[in-house]
C-alpha cells in the first residue's frame, strides 16, 4: 500500500475485529495466548457444548455423531503448527485489494491436541469412490451475495495425512471461543482458511465441493474471468523481531550503535526451511543467518539469528528471506492476484542507528 493511499471503512472494520500478532511476539516459539492471529469470517458463534455434536455423514458406510466427550475418548496427538492467513501481506499489494488488510502480522504458532481426522474417517468407512471431505463450521454469514455456513473441503489424500487433527485443545487448554471451540480442524502446512473452526459436520463427497470458499475465494487469479488455481500450502516466509525501540505512530525503529542481534522465525508449508538470509542494506547484499531448531517438529517455524554491527549513519533497511528444501525462496517483490493471497515477499524494516538518551527511571521531577 502506498503511503498516500488509504484503506476504507469496510477494511478498517475488519482490521479492528481480526487480530494480528504484534511482531515482538516472534520471540516466543509458541505464541502466547491472546497474541495468535485471528481471522473470523463472520461472527464467533455461540456453541452450547451440552447439545453440540460433530456429525460424520455423506458417502460413508456408518454415519454417526460424536459428543465432545466421545471425541476426547479417542486416541489423540499433539502437533505444533505455525498457522498463517492466506491473505497475509495483502495490504502491501498494488493495485490495492479490498478485503481484510493484513500487513504481515497474520501468523501464530500453537500446540494443538486432537484426534487424527483419519481415525474418525476410518470409523465411518468412506465409499470407494469418495473424493473429498467437506468441513462445515457453525459460523454463518453472507458472502458473494448468499447466506452460507463456512465450508471448505480437502481431498481424501490430504485429509488422511497423519498430522491433520480434529483439535479440542490449544496450548494445553480447551479451545478459546475465537479459535473454534469446541472443535476445529487443523491442517498443518496449509493456509488458515483450511483449518475450519467451530466444526459441525464432516461429509464425504463423491464430487469435488464447489462452494464459495473453494470456487470463488482462495484462488490465484488475475481477473474475474479466470478460474485460477486453488490456494493451498503456505509459501516460505521469514519475519524479524523489530529491533530497538519504536516510534509510537510510524513504528520506525531506533537502534543504539553496537552489536544488534537480529532474531526471527521462518516457515514453509511446502518443505522444511533450510536457509534464512539477512540484508542490512535494503537487499544490496545478503548474508546467511544462523538457523536454530527448537525440536517442535516439521510444522512449526524455525528460529534464526544474525549478529549485526550497527553503526550510526543514514537509515538502514533490514530484511530477511527464507528458502525451503524444495528451493522455494521468498521474492523481493510480491506477485499480485485478485484476492490478494500468498504475498510472501520480504518484510522490509526501516531502522535508524543512533544513541537514544537514556531517560533514567528516577529522573522525573520528584521535588
Amino acid at each position: 500500500m502506498a503511503h498516500d493511499e488509504g484503506i476504507n471503512l469496510w477494511e478498517l472494520q475488519l482490521a479492528a475485529r481480526n487480530h494480528g500478532m504484534p511482531l515482538e511476539a516472534l520471540r516466543h516459539a509458541i505464541t502466547p495466548p491472546g497474541l495468535h492471529y485471528l481471522l473470523i469470517h463472520y461472527d464467533v458463534p455461540v456453541v452450547d457444548v451440552e447439545t453440540w455434536k460433530l456429525a460424520v455423514d455423506g458417502a460413508v458406510a456408518r454415519p454417526f455423531a460424536l459428543t465432545l466427550d466421545e471425541l476426547r475418548a479417542r486416541p489423540s496427538e499433539d502437533v505444533v503448527v505455525t498457522m498463517e492467513c492466506a491473505g497475509n501481506g495483502r495490504a502491501l499489494l498494488e493495485p490495492h485489494v479490498v478485503s481484510q488488510p493484513w500487513l504481515r502480522d497474520a501468523v501464530g504458532t500453537a500446540r494443538w491436541r486432537g484426534v487424527p481426522l483419519r481415525v474418525v474417517l476410518d470409523e465411518a468407512g468412506g465409499a470407494d469412490d469418495a473424493v473429498e471431505v467437506l468441513f462445515t463450521g457453525l459460523d454463518r454469514g453472507i458472502e458473494g451475495g448468499s447466506a452460507q455456513d463456512y465450508q471448505r473441503s480437502l481431498s481424501l489424500d490430504e485429509a488422511r495425512r497423519d498430522e491433520v487433527l480434529l483439535a479440542y485443545e490449544m496450548n494445553g487448554a480447551p479451545l478459546p471461543a475465537q479459535h473454534g471451540f469446541p472443535v476445529r480442524l487443523v491442517v498443518p502446512g496449509w493456509y488458515g482458511m483450511t483449518s475450519v473452526k467451530w466444526l459441525g459436520r464432516i461429509t464425504l463427497l463423491l464430487e469435488p465441493f464447489g462452494g464459495y470458499q473453494q470456487s470463488a475465494a482462495y484462488r490465484r487469479r488475475r481477473s474475474e474471468e479466470e478460474t485460477g488455481e486453488p490456494v493451498t500450502r503456505i509459501l516460505p516466509r521469514s519475519l524479524m523481531v523489530p529491533p530497538g525501540i519504536p516510534e509510537f505512530l510510524t513504528r520506525e525503529r531506533m537502534v543504539e550503535p553496537g552489536t544488534c542481534v537480529l532474531k526471527g522465525r521462518a516457515w514453509s508449508g511446502l518443505a522444511p526451511v533450510v536457509r534464512v538470509e539477512v540484508t542490512v542494506d535494503g537487499g544490496g547484499t545478503w548474508s546467511d543467518a544462523e538457523l536454530g531448531d527448537e525440536g517442535l517438529g516439521r510444522w512449526a517455524w524455525r528460529p534464526w539469528r544474525f549478529d549485526w554491527e550497527a553503526r550510526a549513519g543514514p537509515p538502514r533497511r533490514l530484511g530477511s528471506r527464507a528458502t525451503d528444501a524444495d528451493g522455494n525462496v521468498q521474492p523481493d517483490e510480491p506477485a499480485w492476484n485478485l484476492g490478494g493471497y500468498e504475498n510472501n515477499a520480504v518484510q522490509w524494516l526501516d531502522v535508524t542507528v543512533a544513541w537514544s538518551k537514556r531517560a533514567a527511571l528516577g529522573s522525573s521531577r520528584t521535588g
Copy 2:
C-alpha cells in the same frame, strides 16, 4: 470516517497490532481471554520476573522495592473493571485524526486481583507535601520526538481510592505479557492510559508530573496552542451485540423477521448507568431498554436488553444510548478534539430484515 476517505499505512500498522474486541463478545460479562482490547504504545517489553522489582521511591519516608512474591504476600482485592481506550471512536471523527484508528471496539471487562495501591503507599510513608504519584512502565519508545519510558501520574486522592490496584492476576491467571506482566496499575473508572502496564516504579512527587503522556497527549484541546483539560474518567457508553448475521466485507447485518432480542452492555466512569434507550429508526424515537445487573460491582458494565419486532422492509438503523446517575447522556454526534479522545457518541448499526434462505448443513453435493 467518511467511507471514501481512508486511513494511512501508519494507522493500519497500529490497527493490525492493537486488538479490538469483536462486538459479539459483548455477550460475555467477563471478556474471554484474548478478546479484551489491547493498546500497546511501544512494544510488549521482555520482563524477567526473577530480577524484576517494583521500586517505590521519591518523596517517601521509606523507599523500598518489592519482588513479585513480596507483593503477592500483601493483602489483595478483586475488582471487575470495564476498561476502555480514551481513543475509542477516534476513527469516526471528522476531520480525521491520525493515530490508532479505533472504531468502537476498544473495550473489555476483566476481573483483576492485586494489592490496593494505598497499602504500598502507606508502607512507604509519603511526605506531607506530596501531590501526585508517578507510575513508570518498562515499555520504552519514541513519542513527541523523544525516547521515553511510558509514564503517567495520578493525584494522591485518586491514587488512594480503595479500588485502585497493583494487579498481578487477570481473570484468575497471572497477567498475560500483553496486559502488563508481572504487575500493572488498574484504575477503575478511568480511561485505559491511566492503568500503566509493566510497572517498574512508583514515585511520590512534590509537583505535578509534566511528561509527554500527561501534558501533550490525553488532553481535550481543539488546537495545538490550547493547553486543554486532561482526559480522565470514562464517559457513558452503550454498545450492542450486532444482531443477525454479517456480510463478510461490509459487516452489514441481516436479521430474520420476528422478535429479535437486542442485547448489549453499558458503562460510565463518572457515575453508575441508570438508563439505556434503544432506537430502531435511526434516532427518530427512543425506547427504554431493560437494565440488568450481574452483581459485578460499580466498575463493570451493566447488561441491557430490548425486544424488537423486526419486520421486513427498508434497511433499519439501530442504536443505543446510556445515561448515568449524574445525568451524563451519550450524544448522537461526537464532539471533536485534536487527539480524538472521548468519542462516546451513539453506535449506529445498519440492519436489513429479510429471510436468509437456510442453507441446511447437509445440502452440499454429496453425490
